[in-house]
């Protein structure tokens, strides 16, 4: 052991973060101990409070410390649209585009039968409850364009259609500003089969 036990523990603890290996963990630990003691203390406090208090929004299941998250509590949004995504990060990604004004539902995963993730793990009973209490005119399925994401979208479409709600899937295609030559074959094939009229 090169460092004293407490420093070692701190380095080990920092390694739980994504993208942080032994070397960066060591840099972070020394930085906090040498220069940023007060901010480090602040970080520790906020980390503790956040972990204790942040739960899932009761309506859309995204991360939030209030029972209803900011987006769900905002009554000025478009009540007729509901967008279903896989993770809270997807909500942020869509919000940053500024082109969507409806509400969200976060699955916190996707159907992956081979990993043992079935419909129960995705909070679908909550989704069905939402659809009954606040029925939207259209549900947008924005799960990832992977095999599991597609399977999830198909499954959701089947159960949402039974409730006579319009269901749509986000489009797949060539990225803006991209060049066809460098787009992978599968995306290009999809873009061609699902082309739209102009």
């Amino acid at each position: 052991m090169i460092f004293s036990p407490l420093i070692d523990q701190l380095i080990m603890a920092l390694r739980c973060l994504p993208g942080v290996g032994p070397k960066s963990a060591q840099r972070m630990a020394f930085h906090i101990l040498e220069r940023e003691r007060s901010s480090g203390l602040n970080l520790a406090k906020i980390l503790e409070t956040a972990i204790m208090q942040v739960k899932h929004c009761q309506r859309c299941r995204t991360l939030s410390e209030t029972t209803l998250c900011n987006l769900c509590a905002n009554l000025n949004r478009d009540q007729s649209l509901l967008c279903i995504v896989e993770t809270p990060a997807d909500v942020i990604a869509i919000e940053q585009t500024g082109s969507y004004r409806g509400y969200y539902f976060v699955l916190l995963g996707r159907l992956s039968p081979l990993d043992g993730i079935g419909p129960e793990e995705l909070g679908l009973d909550q989704l069905l409850k939402n659809l009954t209490e606040h029925p939207p005119q259209e549900v947008i399925l924005a799960t990832n364009p992977t095999v599991e994401g597609e399977a999830t979208a198909h499954y959701l479409a089947e159960i949402i259609k039974q409730r006579n709600i319009n269901t749509s899937r986000i489009a797949h295609g060539v990225p803006l500003g991209g060049e066809l030559e460098f787009v992978d074959g599968n995306t290009l094939a999809r873009a061609l089969t699902e082309r739209s009229e102009v």
Binding site: P113, T146, E150, Y155, D184, G185
Partner: protein
């Protein structure tokens, strides 16, 4: 032993995120069977594998390594990709689960690889039932558990159209007098239809499904298939399945 495999025709059966940006792959290759490999930084923003490492896409892959876990070095798409949607997609997941559970690592089955490719084409053409049955039959043959569908296992006599037969996963088909609606008794006509792969009649197709399920499930030690559960869920959403 260090192994380098170059440009091997393969399909990806399943992927799992690994570390920060890598991907763990279950690969079904033509000449090397089922392989476990890791695609380093495949999920990163500058990945050279971007959008390529997907199920149901014909690929040529190169990998190297000396342990169980190989290192994926090259991936190129090869031929036309099988674009499965809706129910066909769930059927494709079912095929992948069968292969993952029944194939041993590094056991080559070129015949099965061809059958898998054929099955994906069948699924794409929306002929789910026939496609799945023929693939299951082929799978049993390749694994050495071929069903003897034209001979009575106890007497060695030919299967008769009008006769009823009892299916035992170990012995095979044995003629029986009682045709009360038991789940492991089959009519000779249906057995021969499956034998000659002429599954046009709905009744024959239903019997083939029943028979092949018994045979496949006995290979799986009767442990349920996750992808089948998803099908049942779809029929009865949110009811706990037994």
């Amino acid at each position: 032993m260090h192994q380098t495999i170059l440009l091997q025709p393969s399909y990806i059966l399943h992927t799992r995120p690994y570390r920060d940006t890598s991907l763990l792959l279950e690969i079904f290759s033509r000449d090397h069977g089922r392989i476990n490999a890791v695609a380093r930084s495949a999920r990163g923003p500058k990945s050279r594998f971007k959008g390529m490492l997907q199920q149901f896409v014909p690929l040529v892959l190169s990998w190297q390594g000396r342990t169980e876990l190989m290192n994926l070095t090259v991936a190129e798409s090869y031929g036309i990709s099988h674009y499965l949607t809706g129910e066909a997609l769930l059927c494709g997941i079912y095929l992948n689960e069968l292969l993952m559970r029944l194939l041993h690592r590094h056991d080559a089955h070129p015949g099965l690889f061809a059958a898998y490719q054929q099955a994906l084409i069948g699924l794409q053409q929306q002929q789910q039932q026939i496609t799945l049955r023929l693939f299951e039959k082929r799978l049993l043959i390749e694994l050495g558990y071929a069903l003897q569908l034209d001979k009575d296992a106890s007497t060695g006599m030919d299967i008769m159209l009008e006769q009823y037969y009892y299916f035992d996963p170990i012995q095979g088909l044995i003629s029986c007098a009682n045709h009360a609606s038991k789940k492991n008794i089959f009519r000779g006509e249906s057995l021969l239809a499956l034998h000659y792969e002429e599954l046009t009649d709905r009744e024959h197709l239903r019997d083939a499904k029943r028979l092949l399920r018994l045979a496949v499930m006995s290979l799986l030690d009767n442990k349920p298939l996750k992808s089948r559960e998803l099908f049942l869920y779809q029929l009865f959403p949110l009811k706990k399945q037994e």
